[in-house]
Symmetry: C2
Subunit: 205 residues, 2 copies
Amino acid sequence: MSTYKLTYFNIHGRAEPIRFLLSYLNINFEDCRIEKEQWASVKPNTPFGKLPMLEVDGKVLHQTLAICRYLGKKAGLAGDNDWESVLIDIAVDNILDFWQEIIIYFYNTNEVTKAELGKRLFEVTTPFYLDKFEKIVSENGGYFVNDKLSWADIFFAAIWDYTKALVDIDIVEGRPNLSKLQKTVLNIPQIKLWTEKRPKNVRFY
Amino acid sequence: MSTYKLTYFNIHGRAEPIRFLLSYLNINFEDCRIEKEQWASVKPNTPFGKLPMLEVDGKVLHQTLAICRYLGKKAGLAGDNDWESVLIDIAVDNILDFWQEIIIYFYNTNEVTKAELGKRLFEVTTPFYLDKFEKIVSENGGYFVNDKLSWADIFFAAIWDYTKALVDIDIVEGRPNLSKLQKTVLNIPQIKLWTEKRPKNVRFY
């Protein structure tokens, strides 16, 4: 049996979709969480100075989406053919594009530009992306792609509470199809189990 | 036979890796190039207000990496198994991380922050990434992954002259393994043909 060790900060962040997928796969992984103070000593041991990284039998993977796609394939959630796979990849890249805008805003420390970024994020970007996602999910039987669960759906559900904590944007509120999709994912037994046993506070720094 | 229509601005930018892969596949694609003035009228017809987009038999794909991965699979350049595929995905994500820093710097218009970004880009980020890439390629028989050509190599070679034009960074200069890899890709007959017939000037705006 392979061993899995996930290393990330002690927050949801970019690792939570990976934790969701590992849980979905019933993989018993070492959930190695480092604190900010440890980062300087951990950083030189990462491939490109970034986290998360996932060690599979000691072999190091990194890059969040690459890892998620790899686990998605293992779980049979990465499409039944190349066309379905590209649609799933597109869905995830769109979610990430939206998420990047949130992260850029959150970590901006300049008073003037932060106010501008915030205005754009809350008034333009958020409704733009979430309305499109709501429409896509309504047209795809409650999922992002082709009427069935994929790792795009799990990715989306996994970033929900962290996004809420970071910038107080509820990515499913007032959008019935996204709300339903989120419930569908959170009610998958293995994922339900994970959300019950993971650290309770949604922290960030 | 399927029809392919690629829509992008009249520059290399994010579309050039797609054009390289379509050429590698000997796919006769419509290379639809719009000028800045046309963007306002084209934008509402894109899935998420962005380019490039690739229409395959009229069905719209978007997101650069998703499209490249799809074409990479078609070309047999996306790995022979899931482990090889994830290594290729990681390589491309690393290249893109580096490229994003270049784009962020290039489009920054604030005098103060641009100077800071530039200092970091030229003195820290560029040698950091390119030294790592050089080492990876030296350890993988002249390629990014497992001693053989993948779409990561084609992606890397495709952004070379645009990056040089944008910020005057030659991503292969002084790094013999990256230089050799670039030559290997540019000497593939279909890609050589493409670079000879594409518009001559490396424009940007």
